[in-house]
Structure formats: structure tokens, C-alpha cells
């Protein structure tokens, strides 16, 4: 049953997944198992398909949509079972930049991997990144920029996080079209990912999930 459920997510069947998850609950499969071995495992495979070049952004988006539809079915049961989040991740596109497709993809893939994501949207000031990270006790802050002129804001976000005295609690990762590992090192970020799938793998490694 979980095999079939995984396939529905991988194929992006956002209607069929609802009945599949309901059937699994009715059959007495623990929601933790449905979540971990069904939905999250499926998104993990979607990430691998993307990394191998078999899947593209549309395939990832429709898979994430199906995953979310399945998640909505088990959400009430998850609360009852008090399943912990794997960690809070704060994401956003830096100040002066309105591009958020890449960041949105990272967001859905991280949610698909079981993380609680707080997406601050685009054009986010360094101060907002830092204060939300502190307030929500984020384990990771992810910064996105599309433009050469805006990526320098990433350094300012790191400074703002430092200023609030929480740098030791937060890992900062960066990505976006002009961003490179070299630039990430230059601004003192903890990690760099060229795409959404790699970002999830990076966060997993950082948080050792």
C-alpha cells in the first residue's frame, strides 16, 4: 500500500493520493509510517530523480502538490500523535530581489522532507531574517538571490544574525543564479546549493537527519 502511495506522489497524482492516504489510515497503518515511509520517502525519491536529471521543476512541483494533498489528510492525526518537526528552516529572497521561484522550490522540497519551513517571501531585509530566525529558533536560514547586485545582501544577513548573537545556533545556506561556493565562502555562509534538491541534501547533512 505504501509503495502505491509513493508512486502516486512521484507521479504527481494529487487527487488519487487523498483516497490512497485515507485507505492507509483505515487499514490501520500508523500515520508516522504513512508520513515517513510514504510521503517523505516519495519526495526523497523525487529529489533523486531531479538530481539524476530525470525530473525537472514541473515534475517536482506536481509531486510536491500531491505530497501536500496527502499531508493534509494526515495532518490532524499528526497533531494527535505529537510527531516532532525535524527542524525549523527560515527561507527568503534577499532585499532588493523579487525572484522567488528557486526559493519556492527549496521550500516545497524541504517541506516534502518533513521540515517546518517559514517562507518569508521575496525582498526580505537582513533584520527580518535575523529576528524571525531568533523568534522561531530556526536551525537553518536559507537565502536566495538572482542578481549579482542583490547577492551582496547575503553578507548583510549574516551580519544581522551575528548582531543578534544567534550565529552559533543557526546555519546559513545560500543559493541562486549568480551564487557560487566561492561566494558562499567569501560571505561566511555555512553551505551553498546550486538547486532545490541539493539544498535538501545539504540541510539533511547539516542537521544529520
Amino acid at each position: 500500500m505504501l509503495d502505491a502511495m509513493r508512486n502516486l506522489v512521484i507521479e504527481g497524482k494529487n487527487v488519487d493520493i487523498v483516497s490512497s492516504v485515507n485507505e492507509a489510515i483505515k487499514a490501520g497503518i500508523p500515520v508516522r509510517e504513512i508520513l515517513q515511509d510514504g510521503l517523505i520517502a516519495a519526495m526523497d525519491e523525487v529529489g533523486q530523480l531531479f538530481e539524476r536529471g530525470d525530473y525537472y521543476v514541473p515534475e517536482m512541483l506536481v509531486a510536491a502538490r500531491a505530497m501536500k494533498a496527502g499531508l493534509a489528510v494526515i495532518q490532524p492525526h499528526l497533531v494527535e500523535n505529537e510527531i516532532d518537526d525535524s527542524g525549523v528552516i527560515v527561507l527568503g529572497t534577499v532585499e532588493g530581489d523579487l525572484h522567488d521561484i528557486g526559493k519556492n522550490l527549496v521550500s516545497v522540497m524541504l517541506e516534502g522532507a518533513g521540515y517546518k519551513v517559514i517562507d518569508l517571501g521575496a525582498d526580505v531585509t537582513p533584520e527580518i531574517f535575523a529576528s524571525v530566525a531568533r523568534e522561531k529558533q530556526a536551525k537553518v536560514v536559507g537565502l536566495s538571490a538572482l542578481l549579482t547586485t542583490t547577492m551582496k545582501k547575503m553578507g548583510e544577513v549574516l551580519e544581522a544574525i551575528e548582531d543578534l548573537g544567534i550565529r552559533h545556533q543557526v546555519r546559513v545556506i545560500v543559493g541562486g543564479a549568480p551564487v557560487t561556493q566561492e561566494f558562499a565562502d567569501e560571505v561566511g555562509a555555512d553551505g551553498y546549493a546550486p538547486d532545490a534538491s541539493t539544498a535538501v541534501a545539504l540541510v539533511k547533512r547539516m542537521l544529520q537527519v
Binding site: 514541473p58 521561484i101 546550486p194
Partner: protein, 363 residues
């Protein structure tokens, strides 16, 4: 910085064509850009007093300004298409952070939702009539452009993938490829119909020696939609444009950003492009691209935008010499940025790039 006007360049449309056709090592370096942002153009025109003698309010001032600037910088062409068609897209506006700031901010197409997300909006969309569009600028260049320059037929043209994403919004397009493929197909067909007319009308001008489609199909690590979907909805448009150019005895350049490795064979063998523009170090450095594809097409540009922004003069000159050493022999390479001269690129670095190209002599 050395004064790059020390070395004069005589434009040569024939030389440029020979370079694109890889007819042997050119005697000098040829240059190519998708475009210069207007803030850069205006600054250069002012800096070098290129239009001081012209009346700004006289007819065709912009055309005169453009060809003088292009010629001064060492380009062999002006880029001009059928006068721009009105196609409304959803846009978002933000303050410009570039050093040569764009007044009123810089706008971007809304990535999430475009003006066409369903059939009703498709029917309601004010599709432009390309037959009714003016060709006044093309006509002026046809009659007045110096004889040693050519018209690069481009502008509002060949945006097959881009118009799909701009009209639907990229996110909407992604879902539509699963939920509404018939709508995607209908939009793609309408875009093709418009471009067939644009291509035909540009090719009526014999000084249009090359047509160029500008169509970003990829991002850093892959294509924006799957290669199969590109083959169904996008590449047939480029094939048609290339065929039309070739049947008229002209060449075809594709400008497309992003990682396109999965469709490069399609572009070279099926679409039959003559040249590809836009190479960035983080995706595929120009030297690698030249090694892989340089025996079948010309590769253009390739000075990484970020590098062009941040490198010192010495670093920039060294990188350019290295690229020229690798790519200039045999032809099939034009020097330029990885994309365009955006208003955040320091003008001195841009001029240094041109200067190094002018000074270069094949060993």
C-alpha cells in the same frame, strides 16, 4: 585603463559572417552582445560625445544614436526587429540597486501567475497582429546604416519558451503541463504563428543578414521544463525560424541562458542553429562549450557576468586572453559578456573587455 579607442576597428558584416561560419581564424576579434542596458548606452554616448551634433528631437534619433554607439564600440551590427508588439504580461516592480540606477525601478515578469491561466483568459487575451506592426526602424536602417554594418534581425522575436512562461507565469505553466496541456499547446501554436510573420517580415530586408531568437530555456542546473516538453512546445518554433532564415540565405543565432546540455544536440542537429549565445562559468565555461560544440556551431560571448562585475583589470585581461587563445583560432567565436551589458556592470570593466579584444592578435 588603456584607451581602447587607440586601436580602430573597421566594421565588416562579411567578416562577422565568415567568423560565425568558422571560415578560418579571423584577422581580428569580433564582438557580440545580446544588448546593452539603456543606462549603459546613455552613459557611453555621453562619455564619448557620440551624438553631440544630433538633434534629439529629430526623426530616428534613437536609430542614429544606436548605430553610432555600436560602431564606436566595435560591433558590426545593430539589433533591430519589427517594431515591438504590445503583449501585456504581469509585472512586478522593485527599486533598482545597480550603480547606474534605472529611474522608476526595474521590473520583472511575475514568475507565479501570468495573464493566461485558463481558456477564458486565452480567448480574452489581446493577441497582437504582427502584420500590422510597424517596420519603420528596419526601413531606416535598410537605407541609412553604413554599408559595412548589418542588421541583426531580433527584438521581441523568437521567445517561444519565454512567452509560454511570461503569458502563463512559470509556476502556472509547470502545473499546466500536467493539468492543461491542450492550453499550453494552444498558446505555443499562437506564439509560433506570430513569429512566422515576424521572421518573414524581417527577412524581407536584405541587410538583415542574421536573425536571432532570444529565449531563455534553462537555469543553473537544467532546463526549465523537461527536454521532452521543450521538444513538443518550444523547439519546433526555433526550427521553423532557423529554416526560414536558411531558406532566405541568412544565418540564425540562438540566445538562451541556462544549462541546456540535454537539448544541445537537438539545437545543433535538428533545429540547426548556426550560433549559440550565453555561456556562464557556473553553468558551462565558454572554453568547454567551444571544445564540445565549436566544430559544428559558433559560440558567442562567455565572459562570465559576475566575473565581469567583480574582477580587477589584470584578472579580466588575463581571462580574456586565455579565452581568445582557446576560442579564436579557426573562427566561430565572438567576444562578449555571458549575457548582456546590464546596468550593474562597471563601465570600465566593459571597456576593458572590448580593449583587450581589440588588442588581441592571434599568435
Amino acid at each position: 585603463m588603456a584607451n581602447f579607442t587607440d586601436i580602430e576597428i573597421e566594421p565588416s558584416w562579411q567578416g562577422f559572417l565568415d567568423c560565425i561560419e568558422r571560415k578560418g581564424t579571423p584577422e581580428r576579434v569580433y564582438f557580440f552582445e545580446l544588448m546593452l542596458d539603456p543606462e549603459i548606452s546613455d552613459e557611453l554616448v555621453k562619455m564619448f560625445h557620440l551624438v553631440d551634433d544630433l538633434d534629439m528631437d529629430a526623426p530616428f534619433f534613437d536609430e542614429k544614436k544606436t548605430y553610432r554607439l555600436q560602431r564606436f564600440l566595435g560591433y558590426d551590427y545593430v539589433r533591430q526587429g519589427v517594431d515591438r508588439l504590445e503583449m501585456p504580461f504581469n509585472r512586478v516592480l522593485i527599486e533598482d540597486t545597480a550603480s547606474l540606477e534605472r529611474q522608476g525601478g526595474r521590473s520583472f515578469v511575475d514568475e507565479s501567475r501570468g495573464p493566461i491561466t485558463n481558456w477564458e483568459e486565452f480567448e480574452r487575451y489581446p493577441w497582437p497582429d504582427p502584420e500590422a506592426a510597424s517596420t519603420k526602424s528596419l526601413e531606416w536602417y535598410q537605407d541609412n546604416l553604413p554599408a559595412d554594418m548589418f542588421i541583426l534581425g531580433s527584438g521581441g522575436f523568437g521567445h517561444f519558451a519565454e512567452h509560454l512562461t511570461w503569458l502563463m507565469g512559470y509556476e502556472t505553466l509547470c502545473y499546466a503541463l500536467y493539468d492543461q496541456r491542450d492550453l499550453v499547446k494552444a498558446i505555443a501554436e499562437r506564439i509560433l504563428e506570430i513569429n512566422i510573420v515576424l521572421s518573414r517580415r524581417m527577412l524581407e530586408f536584405d541587410r538583415v543578414k542574421i536573425t536571432m531568437a532570444a529565449d531563455d530555456m534553462g537555469f543553473k542546473t537544467g532546463t526549465l521544463i523537461s527536454p521532452d516538453d521543450l521538444r513538443q512546445f518550444v523547439l519546433p518554433g526555433h526550427t521553423k525560424m532557423t529554416t526560414m532564415a536558411h531558406e532566405a540565405g541568412r544565418k540564425f543565432i540562438l540566445h538562451s541562458c541556462g544549462q541546456l546540455e540535454k537539448i544541445m544536440e537537438d539545437l545543433i542537429e535538428d533545429v540547426q542553429i548556426d550560433a549559440k549565445h550565453s555561456f556562464e562559468d557556473a553553468i558551462e565555461p565558454i572554453i568547454e562549450a567551444n571544445e564540445k560544440y565549436g566544430d559544428r556551431i559558433a559560440v558567442l560571448g562567455g565572459i562570465d557576468m559576475d566575473f565581469l562585475c567583480r574582477a580587477s583589470e589584470a584578472e579580466l585581461r588575463a581571462r580574456i586572453r586565455n579565452i581568445l587563445d582557446e576560442c579564436h583560432p579557426g573562427g566561430g567565436f565572438c567576444l562578449g559578456s555571458g549575457n548582456s551589458i546590464a546596468n550593474y556592470i562597471p563601465i570600465t570593466n566593459y571597456l576593458t573587455m572590448l580593449d583587450e579584444g581589440r588588442r588581441y592578435r592571434p599568435g
